[in-house]
């Protein structure tokens, strides 16, 4: 009896996912994002494509970290071909740097709008077009209604959308399926080596629909995400310089 109850609940959960816009993904369509432990936070244990992700940044350093993290995810999205559209109002992204994250910068189309309010218009147009692999939108404000519009556009086209919110003063409710923050962490090289190591971030999932929020430390190494295993490192006896 308990087993059947459990089965019913699992079945209901799966149905609910379907009703909320989550497509069950066929095994051949599965893409390996190699996000490691982060993927287990999501429903079906995989990174949801065809959905809206929101990244919160409060400092330019965090924006850079988020840029790197998104580029790492984009690498997998672009494997099947297609182009990315990067919409922004004040753009500082430096295209040649993205090559380090496995993305060919010439496959990204940058739209630098002159008016802030055009950012969301362009984003929505781009999300409606199913010839696009991913859309990244740099904006400051995103109301619930606006995010709902974008989500509805995505449900038609199954394009993955990333909203990069800069200078966020207060967090409001949005229809995005996940809310992330990425902040840089001190990099580590092998003990005794001088210099700066691989990019290392603390990735935090503040909210995720039907999933479990959490926080992870990851490193970008050899063009993939690697979970960081904290090795207790003794404080350097000699600091740099």
């Amino acid at each position: 009896m308990t087993a059947t109850k459990k089965e019913i609940i699992t079945k209901l959960r799966e149905d609910l996912l379907g009703w909320e816009g989550f497509r069950p993904i066929a095994p051949e369509e599965r893409q390996a994002f190699a996000l490691g432990p982060i993927e287990s936070a999501f429903p079906n244990q995989m990174f949801p494509t065809g959905a809206l992700h929101e990244f919160i940044s409060t400092r330019p350093e965090f924006t850079a970290a988020i840029g790197g993290f998104i580029a790492g995810i984009m690498q997998t999205l672009l494997e099947k071909g297609g182009v990315c559209v990067w919409v922004s109002y004040t753009r500082r992204i430096y295209p040649p740097a993205l090559k380090r994250f496995g993305v060919n910068p010439d496959r990204i189309i940058f739209v630098d709008v002159a008016r802030e309010k055009d950012v969301l218009w362009v984003t929505e147009e781009a999300l409606k077009c199913n010839g696009i692999a991913a859309v990244i939108c740099e904006t400051r404000l995103l109301s619930f209604m606006e995010s709902r519009r974008l989500q509805l556009a995505i449900e038609q086209s199954q394009v993955t959308g990333f909203i990069l919110r800069k200078d966020v003063k207060h967090l409001n409710t949005t229809a995005c399926i996940a809310r992330w923050t990425v902040r840089p962490l001190r990099s580590q090289l092998r003990p005794g080596m001088p210099g700066v190591g691989h990019p290392r971030w603390q990735v935090e999932l503040l909210k995720v629909k039907n999933g479990n929020p959490g926080s992870w430390n990851v490193e970008w190494k050899d063009k993939q995400f690697m979970p960081v295993i904290e090795t207790p490192q003794k404080e350097k006896t000699k600091r740099y310089a």
């Binding site: 071909g81 297609g82 182009v83 010439d106």
Partner: protein
């Protein structure tokens, strides 16, 4: 097919225009003056002034004496050409080939156009009626040659439509002035007693040439159609063009949309039949009050899809001011390219950058935010960071070289670099700490220096020593110092970017 040409003579061009602008001037004697050798000369008059006995060429002072109530206006040379150009554009509704004929006329090639209005007489009547309705005093002439139409419009009393091949008979009773000759020649002809063209039209060519010069013979034979004369159209006719003339003027958005859609559809079908797609299109609308406007679109790939082109125009429909109503739409496709029939359905993966869907998306975005706002970057063989990525608008262009991977570059680049206060313990080493925007960062790890020099063949200047620096909180920055080995210079520090 014999040519048919119309010449329109605006007898009081400038004064009519002024009277249209200010209705109170309509009945008063009026003249335009131009400065000439320190005095004011009358250059254009109206009918009332002519009735008073004023002629163009007299001084303004004389005109004031002859007609004390005359209204004098100063004008600038070239104003008549400007007016004529406007009128020529208005005349494009009758024929695509219109030429400005200075100083006071227009020439229209109406070959094959007259049946649209129900014959030559009706065609001329319609045009004259409308121009007179606007307020211009005009005289038209229609003939097989430019010269004959010109002569008939200016000098004939009746028979403004010269039948085909009837140039000789039409010219016979006209004065020699109808042949567009110079003033000296006209005086000479007058002194010799030639008051009509018929007096010398039968003379042999060689005799005329010996007595009056080659130019006169040329003009006479051009009028007769035995020498070629060409019309230089105001606008180059576009090979792919279509128009819809409406019986009733329209002004509501809905009907305008329907009409434009139908117009685009016709043109697209034609382009499809010829295997072409348009890259740019111009929609011109003419209002019944004589004003017109234009909407221009461009596409990123040759397109023959009605819905797509319509959508691009629809984004601009807010700019259309129909006024009292629009009576004519003209759609030109000045730039067309061969369009390949893509079998896009067979292609299952996500399309590439030059695919139709992406190109259409960019057309839409470009129409809204401006085409220059869309960037795509290709690698350039430069080390200087600001030049390492070249901007392109072409979606089909592929990189000529690979993106460099050996150098670590920041994801966020500050443009231009911002000055920081930094403290380095040893020269040629990364700073120990720096202050940027009132915030102190203590550096614990650093890589560098990476020395990047200005490319002397592009720009003169020193070098920069770049360092990758990580502070205590784990934030990574790209810093550089200016040269410190030059005499009289101290090293200054800048922040140029953020690493992820």
């Amino acid at each position: 097919m014999p040519k048919r040409l119309v010449s329109i003579w605006f007898k009081y061009l400038l004064t009519d225009r002024e009277a249209i602008r200010l209705k109170s001037l309509r009945e008063l004697p009026m003249a335009f003056t131009e400065p000439d050798h320190g005095r004011m000369l009358v250059t254009a008059i109206n009918k009332a002034a002519e009735a008073c006995g004023i002629k163009s060429g007299i001084t303004a002072a004389d005109a004031r004496v002859i007609a004390p109530g005359i209204q004098l206006f100063e004008t600038k040379p070239g104003r008549n050409i400007k007016l004529l150009k406007g009128l020529a554009e208005w005349c494009l509704r009758y024929t695509p080939l219109v030429m400005v004929d200075p100083p006071d006329g227009l020439l229209l090639d109406v070959t094959g156009c007259t049946h649209l209005k129900g014959g030559e007489a009706e065609f001329l009547k319609d045009m004259v009626g409308r121009l007179r309705g606007l307020g211009y005093t005009i005289r038209p002439g229609m003939a097989d040659t430019i010269g004959c139409a010109w002569a008939v419009a200016r000098c004939a009393e009746s028979g403004l439509i010269v039948p085909q091949g009837g140039q000789r008979n039409a010219l016979m009773p006209l004065p020699p002035a109808s042949l567009r000759l110079s003033l000296e020649l006209l005086v000479k002809l007058n002194q010799l007693g030639f008051y009509q063209v018929g007096g010398f039209i039968h003379m042999p060519k060689s005799v005329l040439k010996r007595r009056f010069g080659g130019n006169m013979v040329l003009r006479l034979y051009q009028a007769l159609g035995q020498e070629a004369e060409f019309l230089l159209p105001l606008k180059e006719p576009v090979p792919y063009s279509d128009r819809i003339a409406l019986l009733e003027p329209i002004s509501t958005r809905e009907i305008i949309e329907t009409t434009v859609h139908a117009l685009i559809d016709t043109l697209c079908k034609r382009l499809y039949g010829e295997g072409l797609g348009l890259r740019s299109a111009v929609l011109t609308y003419c209002r019944i009050d004589g004003k017109s406007g234009q909407l221009t679109i461009g596409t990123n790939h040759p397109s023959q899809r009605t819905d797509h082109i319509f959508k691009l125009f629809a984004l601009q429909f807010d700019q259309v001011a129909p006024g009292l109503g629009i009576e004519l739409f003209i759609l030109d496709a000045p730039k067309t390219e061969p369009a390949s029939d893509k079998q896009s359905l067979l292609w299952n993966g996500k399309p590439a950058a030059d695919s139709e869907q992406v190109a259409e998306l960019l057309d839409n975005v470009g129409a809204r935010v401006g085409k220059d706002r869309i960037h795509r970057y290709l690698p350039q063989e430069h080390h200087w960071p600001e030049r390492a990525a070249g901007n392109t608008t072409d979606l089909t262009q592929t990189p000529e070289s690979d993106w460099p991977e050996d150098r670590i570059r920041p994801v966020q680049l500050l443009e231009p670099p911002e000055s920081i206060e930094a403290m380095a313990l040893t020269p040629d080493y990364a700073p120990r700490q720096f202050v940027y925007r009132h915030e102190r960062h203590i550096i614990v790890n650093a890589d560098g220096p990476e020395r990047i020099s200005h490319e002397w063949w592009i720009e003169d200047g020193g070098y920069r020593d770049y360092y990758v620096a990580e502070d205590e909180e784990g934030m990574r920055y790209w810093l550089f110092g200016t040269p410190n080995d030059l005499p009289g210079q101290t090293r200054r520090w800048f922040i140029h970017g953020y690493f992820p």
